[in-house]
Amino acid sequence: MEYGLFLGCIVPLRYPDIEKAVRLVMERLDVKLYDLEKATCCPVSGCYYSFDHVSTYAVAARNLVIAENLGKDIMTICNGCFATLFKSNKKFKENENLKNEINNVLSDVNMSYNGTIDVKHFVQILYRDIGCETIKQHVIDPLTNLRVAVHYGCHLLRPKRVFNLDDPEYPHIFDEIVTSLGAESIDYKLKKICCGAGGGLRANNPELSFEIMKKKLKNIKDSGADVIVSACPFCHLQFDRGQFELNKKGEEFDIPVVHLAQLMGLALGISEKKILTISETPRKKLFEAIKV
């Protein structure tokens, strides 16, 4: 199995420990990753798609061309990158006029997109292409008794009419991956609500954005979870830095936050010192829980 790894922005430039985890975990699962050299921001939908659809498609198309030139499907490790690139790719495949319009823009940088590759999400690749049985076979240190609060993040599930990866009302694929690592995926109130960061809200109105996040964090705290896991670095950043910000205002949150690749790394026997090195919210509770 081979993919072009689309890094995006937040992982390589804020949480490179996630990048390391992705690379090591995929190596263990015998998946070969190729770097998409010279890739840029996807571009971030909450910003670019909000002010100009065509600019969004054009920058996305340039990223797709990089993968097409390598002849590889794209693996995204972020819900935001997945949404932008998947949606753009689907549009180009379905709408010849749009593809021609965008290729006209790309001609200025001597590029052209033919629409020969697919865009896949990390969770989708684990669940559909690799499969939970294979993951189980690679587990060295099962995460027994670990109580995990899964946060799907909006753009892994919705819009279903576009992505069609899981039932957005009763999703299960992420929970099954977590369970295959030996951990327990716990239920909590309003599990499907947004982290509050998307659509530009975190930048435009942090108070409102944090109110949504606080509700989610309170429910997770009440559930007694040992860790929050997502497969979206923007949700990850929201929860990790957000708890730190909320605590400055008198709240008491200390729920460790990890990307699915990092949780998998632990179960696959990779030392936390190699893949869990950067966080605002301490991860001590998680490390203690897995050592019991």
């Binding site: 990048e19 840029t40 670019y48 919705r158 819009p159 998307g198 435009n204």
Partner: protein
């Protein structure tokens, strides 16, 4: 609603033109979108159904409302809309029109500028280079962060689409205007 509004029925066509196949008129105001909305739980002024209604009625004031920028794009309403009116896409398309009228929030313009200047939405910090080194990763990722010609590509692309005009970015100073 009280007072005088700027009525312009062309607004709904404008929305449909930007987003092919999007039909604002599908909406019959059932309010499933508003009751599915994570933001509406916390802010009583933000109501997706109301935004769609204003678009249908051609009330251009919606383009100047701060609430237009409160949607987190969670797409709950998009999936649950019984009329397939795509409320999230309507909001995002109204944002496109609003941005052209100079209402793009400054925070959004700054992020857009980052991509024009660096190719990425967030900047390169010294601390991150050290973090990468400690993880035995290359100092700079193999992206636009490392290859400057990638940034030139993005600039050429966005110059052609006119993104710089919408965000009011000056290529001579490489800064936002005002």
């Amino acid at each position: 609603m009280t007072g005088k509004y700027k009525i312009d029925y062309a607004l709904r066509e404008q929305v449909s033109d930007i987003q092919h196949g999007l039909n604002v008129n599908q909406c019959f105001q059932c309010n499933v979108c508003t009751s599915s909305c994570d933001v509406a739980r916390f802010n009583e002024k933000f109501k997706p159904a109301r935004i769609v209604k204003l678009a249908i009625l051609g009330i251009r004031d919606v383009l100047e409302e701060e609430e237009l920028w409160y949607c987190t794009t969670c797409f709950f309403c998009f999936d649950r809309c019984p009329q397939l009116a795509d409320p999230t896409e309507i909001i995002l398309t109204l944002r496109n029109i609003s941005a052209r009228e100079g209402n793009l929030p400054k925070s959004q313009r700054r992020i857009a500028k980052n991509i024009l200047v660096t190719g990425h939405s967030v900047g390169i910090e010294k601390e991150n280079v050290e973090n990468r080194r400690n993880l035995e990763l290359e100092d700079l990722p193999p992206t636009a962060a490392k290859y400057k010609d990638a940034i030139e590509d993005v600039q050429k692309i966005l110059k052609k689409t006119g993104a710089h005009k919408i965000i009011r970015f000056n290529f001579d100073t490489m800064e936002l205007e005002d």
